[in-house]
Amino acid sequence: MKRSLALAMLLVASLASSARAANEADYKAAYAAAEAASREAAGMRNQWTVTVSALAAARKAADGGDFDRAVAAAREAEALAKASIFQATSEKEAWKAMEIR
């Protein structure tokens, strides 16, 4: 019973924290992570246009005070940048599979 109560409280707490409106600090942290990943991708000469757009959308939302949207866009940018880094890394060898021999 006690264990069930603790689990329920944990669940409520986690839901409450995710439901909390994002603030400027959340945005800055999310944006910094996205920007770092984006810089890494650009350094590998493999930046994606959608990463750049998502970063711009994050900045625009933050400028308008909509930090929920800004954080969501920054997280999307980070995910896209990480995907482009994965692509550039795997393609270092994978391109050979496509070569006409």
Binding site: A42, T49, E91, W95, R101
Partner: protein
């Protein structure tokens, strides 16, 4: 006992020989061999499209579709690139402020030399494209360089290509490890997937020539640069090789590199080399 030792020794020798053979083959597979590459590249397209005349590959999508080819042939009577050709001819002959002209910068006065570009400059240790050479000519004569993706550059290269029409592409790779490295870098760029759509140049132009991507028929990679620069109806204007690379990258949702970056120069070197022997057909017209 002696027999056992002999068997063991014999087995070890056979294993060693096999290892040496395998290792040699692995090394051979990784060795840069442009001649073998070009042969394999051309054979791939010749076998994939046995009914297309070899010299026709330089006509891009028109070599893949008879209806389109007929429409294009009719259009060639009043080609849409004609205005660029006239402008290019005039620009080419007009002296710079110092009295010199483009002809002073190129072998044979710049006439009939398109098929030799890009080339590997052993002094610089890099690939030099025709677009780059034209801008270097301008700068050496005190003129501002042209944009690599706009009309002036397209007009100049259109005129120079026209003076080479029908001449076989003749790209050389000197016996210089830097030239081989540039060629290999271009090949890697051509086959490397990029952008959110995860496309390489080869995804469209090797795997799917003749197929449609939205409303367009994809051109084969073989001879794709022989027709440059091109008038594209989609652009309502002329486009340089640089513009083509930039647009291809954007279409896969990759941020394009700067025009005439090392990668673009190298991929132009690779694509031109594997098209050696096919005629220059530029300037071209495309849907």
């Amino acid at each position: 006992m002696k027999q056992r030792a002999a068997i063991l020794l014999g087995s070890a020798f056979v294993a060693l020989a096999a290892l040496v053979l395998v290792a040699t083959r692995v090394v051979a597979a990784d060795k840069v061999d442009p001649v073998a590459d070009a042969k394999a590249f051309q054979n791939f397209f010749f076998q994939k499209f046995p009914n297309v005349k070899h010299e026709d590959f330089v006509n891009g999508p028109y070599s893949m579709n008879e209806d389109m080819k007929r429409q294009w042939q009719e259009k060639e009577e009043f080609p849409p690139y004609e205005f660029a050709l006239d402008a290019g001819k005039e620009m080419f002959a007009t002296p710079f402020k110092n009295g010199k002209t483009y002809a002073d910068c190129f072998p044979n006065g710049g006439i009939g030399i398109r098929q030799n570009y890009p080339y590997f400059d052993e002094k610089e240790g890099k690939v030099v494209t025709l677009e780059l050479a034209l801008n270097r000519c301008r700068e050496a004569n005190g003129e501002a360089p042209y944009s690599y993706v706009k009309d002036e550059m397209a007009s100049l290269t259109a005129y120079m290509a026209y003076t080479s029409r029908g001449k076989p592409m003749e790209i050389k790779i000197p016996d210089d490890p830097r030239a081989l490295a540039a060629y290999e870098n271009g090949k890697r760029y051509f086959y490397t997937r990029r952008g959110q759509l995860n496309f390489s140049c080869a995804s469209c132009h090797v795997q799917s020539p003749g197929e449609r991507i939205r409303a367009e028929t994809l051109a084969p990679a073989l001879g794709i640069l022989n027709a440059m620069p091109i008038y594209r109806s989609e652009w309502s204007g002329m486009g340089t090789t640089s513009r083509r690379f930039v647009t291809c990258n954007s279409q896969t949702r990759a941020v394009p590199l700067e025009p005439q970056s090392d990668e673009y120069r190298d991929v132009e070197y690779f694509l031109s080399y594997v098209a050696n022997g096919l005629p220059i057909s530029g300037p071209g017209a495309r849907p």
